[in-house]
């Protein structure tokens, strides 16, 4: 599945990444070496540049300087269409507010993630995800009719539907109570490890730090 084959032992490797805002460098991403099955937290206060860093790691917003490698591929050396495709095929995204497509069903949200990346959702893998995340019963329900807990699980399933090498999660627990935050982190950790992907969580939520293998702090720059 997918057009990007990797032989690298790391699913994500960054070196010297500087981030800018309004033309000025304001933050430095610590160098990251993320192996498959590992979970790393990217911490920092609000405005420290965590989300900007995730956008750079996802190939959405360019860094001012530095290199970002997803598997063997230097992300920012690709043309825009190549970055879009690599993001779709090799990187799973979990957003703070889940961002499902409300107009379509749970299953269609998962299939869309595959088709946007130019792939077809593997029926077996899709079924496994639905079962693992306990969303089989709601697979045909429209996304705007889900509870928050259900939406969380669907968002995780969508991030994994293309068997990504890397999962990036942006403040996934910030709006959740302790119970739900713990449940989501456990779920993410378990599924990501089962899939053999690396997980980078951008968070300033201390509750998330207990669930990760390591944490890196954003550094101010300039």
């Amino acid at each position: 599945m997918g057009g990007f084959v990797t032989t690298s032992p790391h699913c994500l490797r960054t070196r010297g990444v500087l981030l800018d805002r309004d033309g000025r460098v304001f933050a430095r991403l610590p160098d990251v070496d993320l192996a498959p099955g590992r979970i790393v937290a990217l911490t920092g206060t609000s405005g420290a540049g965590k989300t900007t860093a995730l956008l750079a790691l996802a190939g959405i917003r360019p860094p001012r300087e530095g290199s970002i490698q997803v598997g063997d591929t230097d992300l920012w050396s690709l043309p825009p269409s190549g970055r879009d495709r690599l993001r779709g095929q090799r990187i799973g995204l979990v957003f703070q507010s889940f961002h499902l497509i409300d107009a379509v069903s749970v299953e269609e949200n998962l299939r869309l993630a595959a088709s946007c990346a130019g792939l077809r959702a593997e029926p077996g893998h899709l079924q496994t995800l639905l079962e693992t995340l306990d969303i089989v019963a709601i697979r045909h329900r429209r996304a705007d009719r889900l509870s928050q807990g259900q939406a969380q699980r669907v968002a995780v399933a969508r991030a994994l539907v293309n068997r990504p090498a890397l999962v990036l999660a942006d403040e996934p627990t910030s709006a959740l109570d302790d119970g739900n935050a713990r449940a989501l982190l456990d779920l993410l950790a378990r599924v990501v490890r089962e899939q053999g992907a690396g997980l980078l969580i951008a968070t300033h939520d201390r509750r998330a730090l207990d669930a990760v293998d390591a944490s890196l702090a954003m550094e101010a720059a300039g």
Partner: protein, 403 residues
Amino acid sequence: MRTMGLAWAFLRRRWGQALLSVIVGALGVAAVETVAIAERELPKAAERAFGGVDLVVGPKGSALDLVLCCVLHVSDPRGLVPLKEGMDVLRNPMVAAAAPIALGDSVHGRRIVGTTPDILTIYRAHMAQGAIWTAPLQAVAGSDAARTLGLKPGATFVGNHGLGPGGEEHAKFPYTVTGILAPTGSALDRLILTDIQSVYIIHRDPDDAEEAKAGQGGPTGFGPPAATAILASFRSPVAMAFLPRLVDATERFSAASPAMETARLARAGRPVILAVTAVGVLFAAIAAATAATALAAAMSGRARDLALLRALGAHPWEIAAIAAAEAAMLAAGALATGVAAVAGLAPWGASLLAERDGLLVTVAPTGQDLAMLAAGALAAALAAAAVPALRAARAPIETVLKA
């Protein structure tokens, strides 16, 4: 990407706006289609309604009135012409056939026309059942008149005075149907024909009329002195260049060519046609603008969704394709609804035209009509989708996803 499925899901999500766009678009399609059909079919229908009548000779006055009254049978006569003199004017080698018509009575709204058998030659009509009259107060019914009045050979009926409903019955002078004409597609189908002497028998003073009735089955002895008009067909189109002038040069007669009057009417009606076309195009433009506004609003409303699709790896052109697909679906809906509306309402309009104006119109849109409408709808859809599609393609991923 699953463009069509997603576009359909987005449309369903805001079905009210979508329905409005489809309805307005359908109005535009229907208006444009109606004008196209009318422009193409009305002249043909008028030509059919004229039958083989090349010239009408009547009293001095409006030529158009003469055609409306004596060929299409939709208006009242303005006067009479002396029959013998009129026939003499048309005694010309270029005239193939000439037949007087005398109007005055009707039955349930169908005109009873006193004439001679030559009228069948002019209209190229033939009998479907029975035979032509051989005496006054015998009648031959046009196909449509026979159907609506339930007339068959051997049936009798009584005429009413006047061409509209409510006239006094000529109860003493019942007609006997001797034959039914095959359909011609002309105004003849709606008429009931009888010997011209029948009209004079019924309308002479009562004593003379009784005397005349007693003489049915043979020469009545009444020479009809006047007719409403005389219809003629030509041997050659060249006659059109000479005969009307010849007739108009006389003191008592006026000539009218149905074909020329129709052309004149079409020229006079051109601004109306253009106005209706403009209204149709305006509807279509409003529909496109409504769709464009609705699409733009919808695209703004789902900027997050579009950004999300980009984040999931969709190309900008794939996002633009969603907007284009939505517009195309609205256009297809408007096209289908508009064509269906015309198909549904056209038979009603056609029967109204046939009943009121004697025009038999074919109302089915042609393949060319549909191709023109589809091309127009597609162009409107693309125009409507252009801006929203561009905006969608440029959906800023990061600002939306940061929210």
